[in-house]
Amino acid sequence: MREINGVNNFVVKFANVNGTGSASANHLFAKAIFRMGIPVSPRNIFPSNIQGLPTWYEVRVSSKGYLGRRGGVDLMVCVNPQSMEQDIASIDPGGYFLYDSTKPLAQHLRRDDIHFFSIPLTEMCMREFDNPRLRQLLRNVVYVGALAALLNLKFSILKDLLNDQFKRKQELISSNVHALEMGYQFATENFDCPLPIRLEQGGDVAPHIRESEHILMNGNTAAALGAIYGGATVAAWYPITPSTSVIDAFSTYAERLRIDAGSGKRNYAIVQAEDELSAMGMVVGASWNGARAFTATSGPGLSLMSEFLGLAYFAEVPVVLINVQRSGPSTGMPTRSQQSDILAAAYASHGDTKQVLVFPATPRECFDMTVESFHLAEQLQTPVIMMSDLDLGMNDWMSPALEWDDDSTMDRGKVLDAEALDKAEDWGRYRDVDGDGICYRTLPGTHPDKGAFFTRGSSKDPFAVYSESGEDYVQNVDRLLRKFETAKNLVPAPKTHRPIEVKKPKTKLKLGALFFGTSASPAYEAVEMLADEGYPIDTMRIRAFPFHHELDQFIHDRDLVFVIEQNRDGQMRRLIINECEIPPGKLMPVLNYSGTPITARNIARKIRETLKTKSADVVALHPEKA
């Protein structure tokens, strides 16, 4: 039988039933690997349901620090009979299947090309523990103990983590530790431990990871913290997976960090609105009145917010929206990840609108970009939408530690206070004095007789006086375009990576790959796989819309550019075609939209296929480069 050999490089997947307490045991496993200093990325794959349906937890270990999904499974831990058949089928040849053998495994499920490890988990727990709920919970801890032996996971770290988790509840700590030991002992006595796939602390971990401080955190928590540091004072929202935890975390941090020392009162307001229309309306009202305000939502909520996003665009009200993308409508796959709101967000609303988007790829970027979104929204006086997704928002990611510069300032943009209004000559709310398309705002209540104006959509002249003149309209919306140009230099610039050196390239074509957000990590990994096979590909990670001028150049300088994203229609590719002066045929879509995050293997396979079958067409398309 084939042996998978992977020191610090493998994929473990857990098949559980939701509502059985598996999440915390699985998290314990992942966090222990992280504490060993080995790059790890855990992912929940869960149904839109509270109890009783299959749920999976996939843990990727990668010494090089690739945190996206690789594809395939090396070790499957299965305590869910419902999904057993498909779980066994999904294991890579040579892989391992660890299961609860309290009930014997049906003969037809056996495979000859994988290893089976049977542990009577339920039976062991029935024997050891009296409390029925505890039996169910600790069953999960027993398999973590077994994995510690099988994978060489440091037992002392597991114990430390349990101590941290249960603080002083000694009883819970000892029953959990006991469960770990039961599993550990069973594995050492019955199996050949450790396996060829295993952990080695201080092994060949990539230097960029070994040498810098990392944390394990999910993107939604990071974004919430960004809202705290970015100075948000008003949060209005309506619950929707996968964005709910942004506000939950904001609330937790605000309770701790935003209480007025003297009075004990709150320096923030959180309102659970009646729907997303209202949530966005509250944000618009609060921002219009000079507070930093934000909301968080997902797909259907974005649709409902669209009318207000249009008003905010034309009325030039700063808005911060954290959009945690998922698939489709409410009865789509609401607990699955996608990057499929790109077009809906970029052109959100009626009339000629273009919205500013930022695309974080790590929790660290969720934090930084949320802070940045508040600055940008006020500098540009327009909505800024942070495009996260379920994979980034709800899963724990190993991320560079968060950093804060205490000398940084809160840039409130062009707002005139009473003194400035006294000095200002001929002030008009929509006069483009500086030529950058950004005009001077005033806030209600500032000055007894200067600076008041009536905010409305687009029927206005530069002095905010009601006007339906075509000339005024054109002048105004053209200025908004000028402002969008200005935005190009303010939004986060794309990141380009030096091409990986390829000894004997198999192609003469100059290849590039574009991607963003959670497609980035598996894309980098795929590019490395392809470089090994002789295909050199340069990369650019897009971080914002409007697109930086560098993007046009990147595409111009290459024969063929793969656009890697997680939606059916290649939405980012279409946005680029729409916004950049480039021949559309150069852009090849590489897509995944099954709801589970895109994998490196998948990307590599699709690019490889294109290069093998399509390169002839491409050469014909650009004969001068042939």
Partner: protein
């Protein structure tokens, strides 16, 4: 088009305690139809703010969409205003009031804006008890889109186009009462004597103050067969007269015992209800609902202060907001700094 009115000040115009004349509370010239009830409401709001000496720049005017929602352009040009989205002004007003709890918020809406597209937001605004005055100019139709029947139109009322309304009208004053509004009133755009003091009382009230104002649409709903024409409204009006006595004036106007009822507001000002045959009490929500229902049964329009709870807790109090407006807080109050962030990092290792 709106026009800026010429600034002209008559030397003998009365001034309020801030030294402003009523002209300082003017807005642009109205572009509504001549005779539209909404213009009378604009004038009443302007006069109320003048009489109560509210600095114009400390008022924020918010509206949705409709002829009625255009009104804020036509009063108080020195106040910031926001003509927002059809039916969604409640949320904008909620956000605005959270950002700065010190301004006076006046929301102006229509019956279409509030009772149709915006009924969801309206109900939630009421139950949150946002500290603002919310005025509906209720004409029983959609003026701006040319006279379609609205959700507050009475059953059987005949539209401009000759059809009788088949559906039960929504009584928004009853709705506000049911949802716990802390001040509920109804008035008529043609009854300045009642409307002005009501608006002053509403602005002095701490909490959500709702005034439903019957405001005939001369162009689309003023014909025979309509239950909301000027003539019909005047004929069916049961008005409970009242006065507003601000705190500062120490009840200069004396009311002899037995001539009516004084209702004291949170800030010490008083709404005086003249004695009427009914001896209406404003502190009884159930009685208010019954009175509205009874009036409706008899085809009467009951106007006046229907309900007031002067001690209600507004949203700012319920959220335990700091007294300093949120929009004045800076980096020092808002940003916890690197030391705290490092300890957060520590907890995530």
């Amino acid at each position: 088009m709106s026009y800026i009115k010429p600034k002209f000040r008559h030397p003998r115009l009365p001034i309020n305690t801030l030294g402003y004349t009523v002209a300082d509370y003017d807005g642009a010239i109205s572009t509504l139809c001549a005779g539209c009830g909404h213009d009378s409401i604009s004038a009443a709001i302007r006069n109320a703010c003048f009489l109560s000496s509210i600095p114009p720049h400390r008022i924020a005017k918010l509206s949705g969409i409709g002829c009625s929602s255009k009104m804020p352009t036509y009063f108080m040009g020195r106040s910031h205003g926001f003509n927002s989205v059809h039916g969604r002004m409640p949320s904008v007003a909620t956000g605005a009031s959270l950002a700065n709890r010190e301004l006076t918020y006046i929301g102006v809406s229509g019956d279409g804006d509030t009772a149709s597209i915006g009924i969801g937001q309206f109900v939630h605004l009421v139950r949150r008890n946002v500290n603002m005055t919310y005025i509906v100019a209720n004409n029983g139709c959609y003026g701006l889109t040319k006279g379609q029947v609205s959700a507050t139109a009475d059953l059987g009322t005949v539209s401009k186009y000759g059809t009788a309304n088949q559906f039960e009208g929504i009584d928004i004053a009853s709705l506000a009462l049911l949802q716990g509004a802390s001040l509920v009133a109804r008035s008529f755009s043609g009854d300045k004597e009642q409307l002005e003091p009501l608006i002053r009382g509403a602005m002095a009230h701490k909490g959500f103050a709702f005034i439903d104002v019957v405001s005939p649409c001369v162009t689309f709903n003023n014909h025979a067969g309509s239950t909301r024409s000027y003539t019909e409204t005047r004929e069916h009006l049961d008005a409970m007269p009242l006065d507003f006595v601000p705190m500062r004036e120490e009840i200069r106007t004396h009311y002899a015992a037995g001539t009516g009822q004084n209702v004291t507001l949170h800030d010490g000002s008083v709404i005086h209800l003249h004695k009427t045959g009914t001896d209406y009490r404003t502190n009884d929500r159930v009685a208010a609902l019954n009175a509205l229902q009874a009036a409706q049964e008899e085809d009467r329009i009951l106007t006046g202060l229907l309900f007031l709870d002067p001690n209600s807790q507004d949203l700012n109090r319920n959220l335990n907001l700091a007294t300093r407006p949120l929009n004045e807080l800076g980096k020092n109050e808002l940003c916890p700094g690197s030391r705290v962030l490092n300890s957060i990092n520590e907890g995530l290792r």
